[in-house]
Symmetry: C2
Subunit: 244 residues, 2 copies
Amino acid sequence: MSEPAYLEGAPLQPGGKAAPTTLLFDTFGTTADWKSSLVEHCAAIAAAAGLRADWPAFVTEWRSLYQPAIAPVRDGQRLWADFDELHRETLDTLLPKYALNTLSDADRDHMVYGWHLLHGWPDTVQGLTRLRQRHILGALSNGTTRQLVDMAKRSAFPWDVIFGADQWQTYKPAPALYLGALKLLKAPASSVVMVAAHNNDLQAAQNHGLQTAFIHRPTEDPAPTARYTYIATDFNDLATQLGC
Amino acid sequence: MSEPAYLEGAPLQPGGKAAPTTLLFDTFGTTADWKSSLVEHCAAIAAAAGLRADWPAFVTEWRSLYQPAIAPVRDGQRLWADFDELHRETLDTLLPKYALNTLSDADRDHMVYGWHLLHGWPDTVQGLTRLRQRHILGALSNGTTRQLVDMAKRSAFPWDVIFGADQWQTYKPAPALYLGALKLLKAPASSVVMVAAHNNDLQAAQNHGLQTAFIHRPTEDPAPTARYTYIATDFNDLATQLGC
């Protein structure tokens, strides 16, 4: 009986790297292009209500409120609140500044729901499809499980398994997510690659013994700030580096 | 922006049933044909070791040891032990009766690993593919997450999301699994159908307000013993009943 590559041991790649069996992907920014997705989504909702704004500035600022919102949850200063709740809070905070505070509750819910419907970068679906042939692909995200399911269905992200932050009720880079995913996969850390466009995510993964892949994305961290196992221009480049 | 059916509300189906958005599937017996898969798998391993046995009897008896093995875990009389561990224990118990106790540890591990590689029933992949176009499809199984991932990859089960018993460290029909899956899906119970070939699974789901679908499978419960939302001959029949 021949086993697919991801079921075998981890032979050495050229260059002496252990071949991974499993790749875990950050979603927002790394897999999904939140900025152009949300610009389009929010503009359409507001236009139907007769409102206009500088949407690239608006969504960039909305996104910037994410780290301050998750920090108190991750640090245990606030009870669990998921991405839908936090995005609604930060939206309500932001709307007056952009003269959008006449938007109805339904429109606000619909804007928040835009985070469930993000599309990928141009290489996302093709790159994941190549990588999936020889690896287990998991989303490991600060989004909710449902949010990741909705996004995968809408945008055809071919995950084998989805790990949302709600499964551990904390946020990356808290150890619980990396260690929890490894445990559910019954995988040694060295056989798993964390794939992200964010240094803090990769450095946390590295601290737990995972391999790492930094992906250059125009809206995310401009450059790697540590040594990673792989550095790639996009998912197709990563697939090529992994021999897929 | 048009939404796929699973994102919309739940309009009434003909007959007054609320249209579900999400289907949760039992795996062993309902989605996967454990018996013929394991007969083939175990016979091959034993043949390579020069051993023969009545494999249909052997795997049927192995499977019958599953409910007694999970009961103490579910009832809190034993600490968490997952399917791989329990299958190894029951295998070790069973081998002497079939004069197979000369099998090596590696062969025993390989036999247990057969539970990760089960194939579907003839209708499984086609039926799930039809159902997936209009619904979120999740595995909700007593297997481990990794086991379900391996099986899905090997046998092309097109899940949107996988819920293994290790996510809650207990076994169906414990409430934690049904309620935990609903919570992660952020879905009202009435919008979700539990699909199984086992009455105990469906009756537990029904107790928590889920819809239910009984599937007739030749190796599983011979007939429904309660009123279910759907009764189907296989996954294609269920897809037809759900308008897919």
